[in-house]
């Protein structure tokens, strides 16, 4: 028995570096071709449209926006990936970050602390709320065997309800057409950084938080005992149990960590741009995170590229409107990319295995006597 298809696309098994690099490039190429066909069918100039998009997307201002989008996407995808690596499908990242953002914004508006403490407290509150909300699903699964897919989807709906109530009835203040929490004081804000030269558009200061989260994810998973237990549970629950891994605890911990990470998703926007939680607070990022986690094969580097690509497509789509082309074309492209990445990873993996075997046979045929190859495994 070799690795299953699901193991590979959920990133539970390692693929060779070659596959990891080639597959996404092919996939993007493929997605580009299909998108072109769609453009052509809908009667739009293919080449011009793509050039316009790339042109616009690579303006300094656009690039800064790409990085900002990618920052949030990255956090969301990592939150999802933590679950995926253990076979947990945390569909509830969406509800977790929205609730976390709202409570954190309200707390931030209500307390006054000195500058360095303020954002830290707000971020901690967000993580705790996210963790708690995800933890409910974890505890339900560990104690009652409730599928986390079902419970997190329901918790999303409940989060929407609770969020609406809290915003409209408790913490919100009417501001024109909008309802928002009290604006965060100056001390709570995290200044943007001029990462991209040639534009006044700042990049979120919490861009660095995303990088830190990526590193932490890698270290936790690959260097720490906890991560070993987590991956072992994801690969074979029965072997994990026999080896002394407390799977129930692992489920709860994994959901807590996933939820805490989800809590961070809204922070770059809250602390770096909007300074309040309002009706326009971006929703749906949790679902985008699922797509990006798959695109990046639940690997911290892969997810970074996937998040940037996604952000780029998002930003460059805004120009399409000006050219009277439906920006939804980009949504098609994003969906196609995920789909074709899954397919090409699989194809590249198989091709690679065959090529490897052909290589071995060539080498053996070439210098059968010279090479000290192990034969029949007993040398």
């Amino acid at each position: 028995m070799s690795s299953t298809f699901a193991d590979r696309w959920l990133g539970r098994v390692r693929l060779s570096a070659w596959v990891t690099l080639t597959a996404p490039l092919l996939a993007i190429l493929f997605a580009g071709v299909i998108t072109s066909i769609v453009l052509a069918i809908t009667g739009n100039p293919v080449f011009d449209t793509l050039v316009t998009m790339v042109d616009y997307g690579s303006q300094p201002r656009s690039l800064a926006l790409v990085v900002n989008n990618a920052t949030t996407y990255y956090l969301s995808a990592i939150a999802v990936a933590i679950g995926f690596r253990m076979n947990l499908f945390n569909i509830g990242v969406d509800g977790q970050y929205r609730l976390a953002g709202l409570v954190a914004a309200a707390v931030g508006g209500a307390v006054t602390l000195p500058a360095p403490l303020m954002p830290i407290v707000i971020i901690l509150v967000a993580m705790i709320v996210g963790a708690a909300w995800a933890g409910i699903a974890g505890v339900l699964k560990a104690t009652r065997g409730v599928s986390e897919v079902i419970s997190t989807i329901m918790l999303n709906t409940i989060a929407t309800g609770i969020g609406a109530y809290l915003l409209l009835e408790v913490w919100g203040e009417r501001q024109g057409n909008d309802i928002a929490t009290k604006e965060l004081p100056e001390a709570a804000r995290i200044a943007g950084i001029g990462l991209i030269p040639g534009t006044p558009q700042m990049v979120y200061g919490l861009f660095f938080l995303a990088i830190a989260v990526g590193i932490a994810f890698h270290v936790l998973l690959n260097k720490m005992r906890f991560g070993f237990d987590l991956r072992a549970t994801g690969q074979s629950e029965s072997a994990a149990v026999a080896s002394g891994v407390d799977v129930k605890h692992m489920i709860v911990y994994a959901m807590l960590i996933s939820g805490a990470t989800a809590g961070l998703i809204g922070m770059p926007q809250l602390l770096g741009e909007s300074f309040t939680y309002n009706l326009n607070f971006q929703a749906g990022l949790g679902f985008t995170g699922i797509a990006i986690a798959l695109l990046g094969r639940n690997n911290p580097i892969g997810i970074a590229f996937a998040a940037l690509l996604w952000g780029f497509l998002d930003v460059s789509s805004t120009v399409l409107d000006l050219h009277k082309i439906a920006p939804e074309i980009v949504v098609i492209m994003q969906g196609l990319t995920v789909l074709s990445v899954v397919v090409t990873y699989e194809l590249a993996h198989r091709y690679r295995v065959n090529a490897e075997q052909r290589r071995v046979s060539r080498e053996l045929a070439g210098g059968a006597s010279a090479t000290p190859q192990k034969e029949g495994a007993s040398a």
């Binding site: 260097k223 029965s238 002394g244 075997q357 046979s361 190859q373 192990k374 007993s378």
Partner: protein, 526 residues
């Protein structure tokens, strides 16, 4: 997909036999070569199997037996070579192709879904349709009954697979391939999990199949049974065929020498090393709620330092549950003490930390992460050991070095410690597990079938390791289907039947026959 019933193809065969001169040959493999990264699993192998024969394939662990059979079954493509079935050349891309050509395979590691019934397992993948849409369970059930009766397999289609013992599971696997119309049956180590009388039953079944014109290819490490049942034997060594022997003209010893170039081992324990220090004390261990039949009923046993206690029994009589209760994997009532300390309420991890090594009976489900490299598998179950971790951190260097040590000491045949566990042959996976569980000087070793699937040479080596550790004070709870192993290695034997210990024997005086009858519940106290 479904061809005619088991008895319906006789006429068709007769017509083939008049056609060609090689009519008697069911399978012919010629010049088969298969390479994996770093390993040549099969090198220019040729094999001829006569129709209606039971053809045995023997060879060391990693010799390439399973690989050859997977090639014949279309699971793997050969790099070179030709396959002929009933005289005509074939190319298989998938097992589906092989099945259409009348070839079926039962794998070394069972592939049944526990939570489905026998019926569901059998039809999985070739579901009969009523009017093209609805599943036709009734037809399938009838057909299963027919096949079962025709060959005396005695299978009830409506029980859950998790409720049946290994012997029956084995027969379900066989039925599954017959159901798909197989006329050529490949059995990869079918007897590894069976106790002697189940082996006899299986062989009776096989003879029944052969009488119906079915051809059987089977792999086994038990040379005595190979000699008893096979019509022809092929010996594979380091990926190539080294001999075709006639079972009537060789002894088991000669066969072993052909395979590994070494003599047959004997599991005899020499001087006793039993001390009077109690290592493990199990008292009143019970599993199963009041009222219903208990899977384990009031089991009490003591193992001293330096002692091997053997548990004999037909699989499915509570051995697995006993082991899992001692490991803390399965809830139970009663008390367990390790070296004087009560561990009844401890977690599995804590028990392992306290010095219990565990060789599980199902290596794929409980012993390995198949998709992880060997060195990560070294860590599995030993997540608190110094060589593997430092505090919260994985000690990559230490784990790798120790894996290398195990590979060398236990002769695990592998191109390296970075290959995935799934790339090892079954016997080599087992050696890795044994090596791992013997690491870190355990106080107690729970060994369920420690040499299952291991070749005779490696078996001797593992027995030696066990004896050395026992002399140093290791206590061992040994569960095995191999009576020679039980009698040869144990200092004391207990027989388990329907969840209770029903008899005990001194291995110095007991005969396999006495043990065998006690295991079926017929024996009296000795």
């Amino acid at each position: 997909m479904i061809t005619t019933g088991p008895l319906g193809t006789l006429t068709q065969e007769a017509s083939i036999s008049t056609e060609t001169t090689v009519s008697e040959v069911a399978v012919q493999l010629e010049g088969i070569t298969k390479r994996f990264p770093g390993v040549v699993a099969n090198r220019d192998i040729s094999l001829t199997v006569q129709k209606g024969h039971i053809h045995a394939i023997v060879g060391e662990n990693g010799a390439g037996k399973s690989t050859l059979m997977k090639i014949l079954y279309g699971m793997q493509r050969p790099d070179e070579g030709e396959i002929r079935v009933n005289g005509s050349p074939v190319t298989f891309h998938t097992p589906g192709d092989a099945i259409s050509a009348g070839i079926g395979m039962v794998h070394q590691h069972f592939m049944l879904a526990d939570n489905l019934t026998v019926l569901e397992n059998v039809i999985l993948g070739s579901e009969p349709r009523k009017g093209g849409l609805a599943l036709d369970f009734a037809a399938a059930r009838t057909k299963i009954r027919e096949i079962s009766d025709a060959y005396g397999l005695g299978i009830d289609p409506d029980v859950l697979v998790e409720d049946i013992g290994v012997g029956t599971r084995q027969r379900v696997e066989i039925l599954k391939v017959l159901y798909r119309g197989a006329r050529i049956l490949i059995l990869d180590e079918p007897t590894a999990v069976l106790v002697p009388h189940e082996v006899d039953e299986l062989f009776e079944n096989l003879h029944g199949l052969v009488r119906e014109g079915i051809t059987i290819i089977f792999i086994s490490h038990h040379l005595d049974e190979v000699l008893k049942v096979a019509d022809a034997i092929t010996v594979i060594r380091r990926g190539t065929t080294v001999a075709e022997v006639d079972p009537v003209s060789v002894t088991a010893r000669q066969l072993a020498e052909l395979m590994v170039g070494s003599e047959l081992p004997s599991p005899e324990t020499r001087e006793s090393t039993v001390t009077d220090v109690v290592a493990l004390q199990v008292t009143g261990l019970t599993i199963g709620a009041e009222g219903e039949r208990k899977v384990l009923d009031d089991v009490t046993l003591t193992i001293h330092k330096g002692e091997v206690l053997g548990i004999a029994g037909v699989e499915g009589n509570g051995q697995a549950e006993l082991v899992e209760a001692i490991m803390g994997i399965r809830p139970s009532t009663g008390t367990i003490t390790l070296a004087g300390e009560e561990i009844t309420s401890w977690t599995t991890l804590r028990r392992r930390e306290a010095g219990i090594g565990y060789i599980p009976e199902d290596r794929h489900r409980h012993g390995l992460l198949l998709e992880a490299p060997l060195w990560e598998n070294r860590i599995l179950g030993h997540m608190k050991e110094k060589v593997n971790v430092r505090g919260w951190w994985i000690n990559r260097r230490g784990a790798r070095a120790d894996t290398q040590r195990i590979v060398e000491q236990y002769d695990v045949r592998t191109p390296g410690i970075d290959v995935l566990a799934s790339a090892l042959s079954g016997g080599n996976q087992q050696k890795l597990i044994v090596g791992r569980e013997m690491s870190g000087e355990p106080k107690l070793l729970i060994a369920a079938h420690p040499t299952r699937g291991v070749d005779v040479g490696a078996q001797a080596a593992i027995w030696d390791h066990l004896r050395t550790a026992r002399a140093a004070g290791l206590a061992v709870l040994l569960i095995s289907a191999d009576l020679d192993e039980l009698i040869g290695l144990s200092d004391w034997l207990k027989v388990i039947h329907r969840g209770t210990l029903v008899a005990e024997f001194d291995p110095a005086t007991v005969t396999p026959e006495q043990l065998g009858s006690a295991m079926t519940g017929a024996g009296e106290e000795a």
